[in-house]
């Protein structure tokens, strides 16, 4: 084929210039770069691998349990192994890269197990996925990769503003790590730790109060167990009070300033010690600075009186029963039952009569006052606090009629005179009533009664004779009269019923007459219009 002479119908292509080679080789280069970047990126994203030692791996699962810092997930537990000495478990965890800064030598790890705290259910996922490991970063600069985990959860994150205080209690109650602390029913803190005191004589509880509220804790503050529900019935009705629903479930601690004391505006320093009272009433009671011991002897049984029962002075509790004992003399000739009381005189005379400041307490003064009171008729008496339970309390009251008595101050527990009271009185009354019943002359009464019955019998007999007379004479006459009257009435009835058919006949006849009259009227009418019908008869009906 000749190139110079193009074939007809074919177009001669224009020769273009050759392009530079190997632009296409950019693609493998880019691919290599992207592949390398992907690998390097993934490798760089892989954060540090750390090991944490725990006493047990309860709730921790390889591949599932998370490491969290401030509830943000920063890693995953990769493997759980038992340490070479078989005393602990070693948890290997893979953290994300940005968690690198958190891993200093003094960082703390602890297992947070799911807790349904009454206040909140923190994260449904926690309930389902089980525990997680929380980290509390330390402040050291030295990085580390091996950690010893804490066995108790850290409740207060480091660096949180607030103050920690120490409470001393007899028992822990339902408190636990994280149990809320309430101030005027606002949750202002939580229990951070608790331990039994080294001497075993109580519990030491650490509470952390968050920042704006820690100023409310002063030297006058009293703490108490806010667990449970207070149900009280008073003149206003039933009253149920609790700090919060959460406190019912998981317990709580509440605090408040003592109401009557001059306010101490100075906040308590961190680490101050307080007593944890059992309840609010106990916590907010004025501190009893003085205590005086007395005894009482009661003539009646002490059943229903228990240690701790109140000593009530006209409604005001001024003390409590300390002990109940039995006293006897040689040969058991005479038994006595002394009741020892603790009386807090502060409650009795904290103010003088003119309302001025209370006088300083002195033993001599309290003696004179007690003596005066007894001289005015003050006596102790056992009274029933509750008819339902039969609990007794000791009442101090005035009985001006009581026989004169005085306090024996020679003993360490001076004896206050008493009077039988409450149940004793009732028993006396019942006895008196029984005696009176006893004195009633029952024999004479029965004789009189039988005589009365005999005369009643005679009277009844007379009555029966009278009735018999009526029966035999009056009744037959009356019967006859009635029969005659009946006959007369029947005759009258017969006469009346016989007249009935006549009346009906007359009526029928009258009806027939009026019908005949109408027929005649019609005939006359017809004849008037058709006289010919007399001859031709009535024409046929055209229809």
């Amino acid at each position: 084929m000749n190139e110079a002479a193009p074939t007809p119908g074919l177009l001669t292509a224009v020769v273009g210039r050759q392009r530079l080679p190997s632009v296409i080789w950019l693609i493998p280069v880019i691919a290599a770069a992207v592949g390398l970047w992907l690998v390097v990126h993934t490798w760089l994203e892989q954060g540090p691998t750390i090991t944490i030692r725990f006493a047990s791996a309860e709730g921790i699962e390889a591949g599932k349990t998370k490491i969290r810092y401030k509830e943000v997930e920063i890693g995953n537990v990769g493997a759980i192994a038992i340490s070479p000495d078989r005393k602990s478990v070693v948890v290997t965890a893979q953290l994300s890269n940005d968690a690198r800064d958190l891993l200093t030598r003094d960082s703390k790890f602890f297992v947070v197990r799911p807790r349904i705290s009454g206040g909140m259910v923190s994260g449904l996922s926690t309930l389902l996925s089980g525990a997680y490991i929380a980290i509390e970063p330390g402040s050291a600069d030295e990085p580390s990769k091996d950690f010893a985990g804490l066995e108790v959860p850290l409740v207060v994150a480091g660096g949180m503003p607030g103050r920690e205080f120490v409470l001393h209690a007899q028992e822990l109650g339902s408190l636990d790590y994280g149990t809320p602390v309430f101030y005027r029913r606002v949750n202002v803190g939580r229990v951070t730790r608790y331990s039994i005191q080294p001497d075993g004589q109580g519990i030491e509880i650490g509470v952390f109060i968050d920042a704006p509220y820690n100023g409310f804790v002063t030297a006058n503050t009293h703490f108490w167990h806010a667990s449970g529900v207070d149900i009280s019935i008073d003149a206003n009705g039933l009253k149920v009070s609790t700090e919060s629903l959460a406190a019912i479930i998981e317990g709580g601690v509440a605090f408040e300033d003592l109401p009557d004391l001059p306010p101490a505006r100075e906040p308590a320093p961190a680490g101050s010690s307080f007593t944890l009272y059992a309840d609010r009433a106990q916590a907010l009671r004025l501190p009893d600075r003085h205590r005086q011991r007395f005894s009482m002897y009661f003539p009646e049984s002490l059943r229903g009186l228990s240690v701790g029962a109140p000593v009530d002075f006209r409604g005001i509790v001024i003390g409590e029963v300390r002990s109940l004992r039995v006293e006897y003399e040689e040969g058991f000739s005479r038994m006595r039952f002394p009741v020892e009381l603790d009386v807090y005189p502060d409650r009795l005379w904290s103010r003088s009569r003119d309302g001025g400041p209370a006088d300083a307490y002195s033993e001599a003064k309290s003696r004179t006052i007690i003596d005066q009171l007894v001289a005015h008729g003050m006596r102790g008496q056992l009274r029933t606090a509750s008819l339902l339970t039969g609990q007794l309390y000791i009442a101090l009251d005035f009985f001006p009629d009581a026989a004169a008595a005085s306090v024996n101050w020679s003993r360490t527990d001076p004896v206050i005179p008493t009077l039988p009271g409450g149940l004793g009185e009732i028993q006396d009354t019942v006895g008196r009533i029984a005696k009176k019943i006893d004195r009633i002359p029952m024999e004479r009464l029965s004789e009189e009664l039988s005589r009365a019955l005999v005369s009643l019998d005679a009277t009844l007999k007379g009555g029966r004779a009278l009735i018999g007379q009526v029966d035999s004479q009056v009744a037959p006459q009356a019967t006859r009269t009635l029969a005659e009257a009946e006959k007369t009435l029947k005759e009258a009835n017969a006469v009346l019923s016989r007249g009935e058919p006549i009346e009906k006949d007359v009526q029928d006849a009258l009806k027939q007459v009026s019908q005949s009259a109408r027929a005649l009227e019609l005939l006359a009418d017809y004849l008037e219009r058709h006289p010919e019908s007399l001859i031709r008869g009535k024409p046929e009906d055209p229809r």
């Binding site: 084929m1 190139e3 193009p6 074939t7 074919l10 177009l11 001669t12 292509a13 224009v14 020769v15 273009g16 050759q18 080679p21 190997s22 296409i24 080789w25 693609i27 493998p28 880019i30 691919a31 290599a32 992207v34 592949g35 992907l38 690998v39 990126h41 993934t42 591949g63 599932k64 995953n76 449904l124 996922s125 389902l128 996925s129």
Partner: protein, 213 residues
């Protein structure tokens, strides 16, 4: 099959078809020219087809490594969170007893891309050597590779559907990972390689009647 020096070929007659306007152009022995009618590029063979194909192939081979090593999918649920590579998915399917499905995924996602890369590599290599051997077998292999290529995005398809469907917030969610990107790139690059390979290159050495190997 008729084959021989009397076979009418565009190369021998110096004619080429413009792909833009379907005009038959006189091209002579130039490799590439422009169509005088529409100005499009006209060439007897896809220019540098072996070079292009091998470039795509190298890129695909490079990315094949991260595609299989890196996780393709991150699934998180209430109970657990995990990263899955393609191979771990296959292992899981085998372990959980659904081995037919596992086999399918293994063949479609691991074997097929690898075999495609190898097959195209063999084709390019033999064409570059101007081999005369088994042209019919080679063209059949090329057809198979081209046919299979379109099914290779199965995994990417599955991952994208899962990512779109499983969006239940804290309960469960699926996210793609870097491996998916690499895997998609591998599939696309092998597709490009298969497309840029010019099957006429298989026949050229035979037509030229060069040395046989």
């Amino acid at each position: 099959m008729s084959d021989g020096p009397d076979l009418a070929l565009g190369q021998r007659t110096g004619l080429a078809l413009c792909r833009g306007c379907l005009a038959v152009c006189e091209i002579g022995h130039h490799a590439s020219t422009r169509c005088p009618r529409c100005g499009g590029v006209v060439h007897l063979r896809n220019p540098r087809n072996l070079e292009r194909t091998s470039a795509y192939l190298v890129a695909a081979a490079i990315l094949y490594v991260p595609a299989n090593v890196l996780p393709v999918m991150h699934s998180s649920s209430l109970l657990a969170e995990q990263d899955d590579t393609i191979l771990s998915g296959v292992v899981y399917l085998f372990r959980s007893g659904s081995w037919p499905l596992g086999l399918l995924v293994f063949v479609a996602s691991i074997m097929v891309p690898l075999l495609k890369i190898l097959a195209i590599g063999v084709l390019v290599w033999m064409s570059a050597r101007r081999s005369h051997a088994h042209p019919l077998a080679r063209i059949r292999l090329y057809r198979v590779v081209e046919f299979i290529g379109r099914w290779s995005l199965l995994d990417i398809y599955a991952v994208t559907i899962l990512v779109a469907l499983v969006r239940m917030g804290a309960l469960a969610s699926v996210q793609p990972r870097a491996g998916a990107l690499a895997f998609a790139a591998v599939v696309v690059l092998t597709l490009l390689a298969a497309q840029s390979f010019d099957p006429r290159a298989i026949w050229d050495p035979i037509d030229a009647g060069g040395r046989r190997s």
